[in-house]
C-alpha cells in the first residue's frame, strides 16, 4: 500500500500563504500545513483514494488537524501533528523520538501516549497473566487425565469440551456469566476493575480480585482448548518413546511413568506453547475488556479506533508487540532451565 503523491497533494504541495515554520519541538512529527489551515476543499480528498488505508490514515490526520486548527490550534498544544513533512522524514522523526521514549500525545486525552498506555497495560497483564496461569493449572490435570484414560469416555469428554469451549463466542460467554454470577447470585461485580471506595490494603486486593474473576473466567474458558489438546498430543507422542518402555520394563508404576517420564518430557514443548499463546490471550482480551468495561489495553485500542486516536493506537500496538516478544524470550529462557540439554551462548 503506497501513499500516492500527486501534484498538489500532501507535502509536495507548494506552501500557500505564509507558512509559519515553527520551532521543531518534541511533537513536530506530524502537523497540518500551517498555510492551509482553513482550506476545506483539499485536492487530495477525491473518492478515488478511499480504499487506500495508509493514505486514509494520513488523510484522517489532516482532517483532524484541520478541525483542531479551526479552533485556533495554539502552537503550544502538544497534540499538533506535522503531516507537512514527507513520510520518510516523519518516520525518521518518529523513530528518533521513540528512542527517547516519546510516543507522542493522545489526541483524545491530551496526555502523553506513554502515560495513557502505562495506565492500562498493568490491567491487561494482570488479566492475561492470571488467565495464562489458570490455563496451565487447569490444562495439566485435564491433559494427564485425557492421556491416562485415552480412548475412554473421560478422554472423549475432555476433548469434546475443549473443542466446544474454543468455539464459544466471547461476548456471549461474558453475558451468561454476568447474568448468572453477577446479577442472579450477586457474587461478582459485572464491570470495571475496582471500586472507587475500597479501603487501601487487603480490602483493595480482594475488591480487585473480585472484579478480575469474571473476565479471567471468560478468557480462560475460551482459550483453554489448545493448552489441553497440545499437552495431550505431546504426551501421547512422548509415551511412544523407548525410554517409556524402559521405565515400564523396570517396573515403574503407571502413575510414575505418566508423571515423571511422560509429563515432564511433554512439558517442554508445552512451555513453548504457553509463551506463544500470550498473543492470543491479548487478542481475546480486547473483546473481554470491552464487554466488562475493564480498563486494559484492549479497551484502549477499541476506544482509540472509535476516536481515530492514531498516536495511541500506534503506541498500543508497539507495547503489545514488545510485551509478546518479551514473553517469547522469557519462554526460551525457561525452556533452557527445563531442558538441561539446551544451553545458550555456547
Amino acid at each position: 500500500m503506497t501513499v500516492r503523491r500527486r501534484p498538489g497533494a500532501g507535502s509536495s504541495a507548494p506552501r500557500q500563504g505564509g507558512a509559519v515554520e515553527r520551532n521543531g519541538d518534541a511533537f513536530d512529527q506530524l502537523s497540518p500545513p500551517a498555510g492551509r489551515a482553513g482550506d476545506h476543499h483539499h485536492p487530495d480528498r477525491g473518492d478515488a483514494d478511499f480504499h487506500d488505508p495508509a493514505f486514509l490514515t494520513r488523510r484522517s490526520h489532516l482532517n483532524l488537524c484541520r478541525s483542531l486548527h479551526d479552533r485556533r490550534d495554539p502552537p503550544e498544544d502538544p497534540r499538533r501533528l506535522r503531516s507537512d513533512r514527507s513520510i520518510p522524514v516523519q518516520y525518521a522523526k518518529y523513530l528518533y523520538q521513540l528512542a527517547q521514549g516519546n510516543l507522542g500525545v493522545s489526541i483524545s486525552q491530551r496526555e502523553p501516549v506513554s502515560d495513557v498506555i502505562l495506565e492500562t497495560l498493568p490491567w491487561t497483564l494482570l488479566l492475561a497473566g492470571s488467565s495464562l496461569v489458570l490455563s496451565v493449572l487447569l490444562a495439566v490435570p485435564l491433559g494427564v487425565l485425557a492421556v491416562w484414560q485415552r480412548g475412554r469416555s473421560s478422554d472423549l469428554l475432555v476433548r469434546a469440551t475443549t473443542v466446544i469451549t474454543g468455539a464459544l463466542f466471547v461476548p456471549w460467554v461474558a453475558l451468561v456469566l454476568m447474568n448468572f454470577f453477577g446479577r442472579r447470585l450477586n457474587w461478582f461485580p459485572i464491570g470495571g476493575a475496582k471500586s472507587p471506595l475500597a479501603e487501601p490494603g487487603w480490602p483493595t486486593v480482594v475488591d480487585e480480585l473480585r472484579h478480575l474473576a469474571l473476565p479471567v473466567a471468560v478468557l480462560t474458558l475460551t482459550n483453554l482448548g489448545p493448552f489441553v489438546l497440545f499437552l495431550r498430543t505431546s504426551m501421547v507422542e512422548v509415551l511412544q518413546e523407548d525410554y517409556i518402555r524402559t521405565a515400564r520394563a523396570k517396573g515403574a508404576v503407571e502413575r510414575r511413568v505418566l508423571l515423571r517420564h511422560g509429563l515432564r518430557n511433554a512439558l517442554m514443548p508445552f512451555a513453548t506453547l504457553v509463551g506463544l499463546r500470550l498473543g492470543f490471550l491479548v487478542s481475546g482480551a480486547i473483546l473481554v475488556e470491552t464487554v466488562f468495561a475493564y480498563p486494559g489495553v484492549g479497551r484502549l485500542v477499541f476506544r482509540a479506533v472509535q476516536q481515530h486516536d492514531y498516536p495511541v493506537l500506534q503506541g498500543a500496538f508497539l507495547m503489545l508487540a514488545v510485551t509478546v516478544v518479551g514473553f517469547n524470550l522469557l519462554t526460551d529462557l525457561v525452556y533452557g532451565m527445563l531442558d538441561p540439554r539446551i544451553r545458550y551462548g555456547g
Partner: protein, 305 residues
C-alpha cells in the same frame, strides 16, 4: 493408502493406464468410507449442511429484516410466530439469524480463500528456498504467528470502508500464518525427498517442482486446515462486527450481537444474543469436528489408533 487383496487383483487385471485411475478412485472411496465411520465428523457435516440450508432458504423462511419491525412485537421473548423472539425495534431475531448466516458464511469463505492462498505462497517460498530468502519468509511467518492479530484486524477494519468483501479480505490477510507454517513444514520435508531430487536431476524448474510435485503432496494438511481457518474466520468476523466495525448494511451474526449490545438490553433480553451466538458456536464446532475427522481419515499414520 491401504490396498486390500481384492483391490490388488483388480489393479493387476486392468491395463496400466486404468490402474492409476482405479487406484485413485479406490483411494477416494476409502477416504469417504473411513469418513462415514467417524461419528463426530458426520455430525459436523450434518450441522454445517443444515445451517447452510437455512442460509440458502432464508428468503423462504423470513423476510429480510428491515430497519424497523412490527410495532406490536417489540422485545418479545421467544414464542409462537417468533421462535427466537424479537428485538427492541420489533424485528424478528430468527430472520436476522438466517439472513446473518449468509453474510457470516460469505465472509468466512472469502477470508479462508485468501488466507489459504497467501499461506501456500508464503509457506512454499519459505520452505523450499534455502538461504536468506527462505529465512526472511520464515521470519515473517514467525512474527505473524506470535503477534496478537485481532487488534491489527480491528485497526484495518476501522480504516477501510466496511463491506463484507473488505471484512473477509482483512481477516484473510491476517489468518494465513497457520497455513503457511504447515505448508512450510511439508515443503522442507519434500525438498530433499528422493522423488523431488530425481525430478530436479531430470531438469525440472523450481516452479514446476513446487506446483506439480510439492503442492499436491502437501494438499491433505492444507485441506484439513481449511476448516480450522474458516472456524477462526467466523469468530473473527463476529468479534469485529460485535465491536461495531462490521458491514452496517448487512446482517451477520456479529452484527446482531452488536445491535444487542447497543440496545442496552444485553443482560435483560437474553434471547437477543443467545441465538446468534449459538449459531456461531455450532458452526465453529462443526468445522472443528470436520477438521479433526479429516485429520484422522487423511493421515494414514493415525489410522487404527
Amino acid at each position: 493408502m491401504v490396498a486390500s487383496a481384492s483391490d490388488r487383483l483388480d489393479v493387476r487385471a486392468a491395463t496400466v493406464a486404468d490402474a492409476a485411475d482405479q487406484r485413485r478412485r479406490t483411494g477416494w472411496r476409502l477416504v469417504v468410507s473411513l469418513y462415514r465411520r467417524d461419528v463426530l465428523g458426520m455430525a459436523g457435516l450434518a450441522i454445517l449442511i443444515a445451517i447452510a440450508a437455512l442460509g440458502i432458504l432464508a428468503p423462504v423462511i423470513a423476510d429480510y429484516p428491515g430497519a424497523y419491525g412490527e410495532f406490536e412485537a417489540i422485545n418479545l421473548a421467544p414464542k409462537r410466530g417468533h421462535p427466537f423472539g424479537t428485538d427492541e425495534l420489533g424485528r424478528d431475531i430468527l430472520a436476522q439469524t438466517v439472513w446473518g448466516a449468509r453474510s457470516s458464511f460469505y465472509v468466512a469463505a472469502f477470508a479462508t480463500l485468501i488466507a489459504t492462498g497467501l499461506g501456500i505462497v508464503v509457506g512454499l517460498l519459505s520452505g523450499y528456498f534455502p538461504g536468506l530468502g527462505g529465512d526472511l519468509f520464515t521470519g515473517v511467518i514467525d512474527v505473524f504467528l506470535t503477534l496478537p492479530v485481532l487488534p491489527l484486524i480491528i485497526l484495518l477494519a476501522s480504516v477501510v470502508s466496511p463491506s463484507l468483501t473488505t471484512l473477509g479480505l482483512v481477516i484473510g490477510l491476517f489468518s494465513w500464518p497457520a497455513t503457511a507454517r504447515i505448508v512450510r513444514g511439508e515443503a522442507i520435508r519434500l525438498r530433499s525427498a528422493d522423488f523431488v531430487e530425481a525430478t530436479r536431476v531430470a531438469g525440472a524448474t523450481s516452479s514446476r517442482i513446487l506446483l506439480r510435485h510439492i503442492l499436491p503432496n502437501a494438499a491433505p494438511p492444507i485441506f484439513i486446515n481449511l476448516s480450522f481457518v474458516a472456524g477462526a474466520a467466523i469468530l473473527a468476523e463476529a468479534g469485529i462486527a460485535f465491536l461495531g466495525l462490521g458491514d452496517p448494511t448487512n446482517w451477520s451474526w456479529g452484527t446482531i450481537l452488536s445491535h444487542a449490545q447497543a440496545s442496552g438490553r444485553f443482560l435483560e433480553s437474553w434471547w437477543y444474543a443467545t441465538f446468534p451466538s449459538l449459531f456461531i458456536t455450532l458452526t465453529v464446532v462443526a468445522l472443528n469436528f470436520l477438521g479433526q475427522a479429516m485429520t484422522e481419515v487423511l493421515n494414514p499414520r493415525l489410522r487404527g489408533r
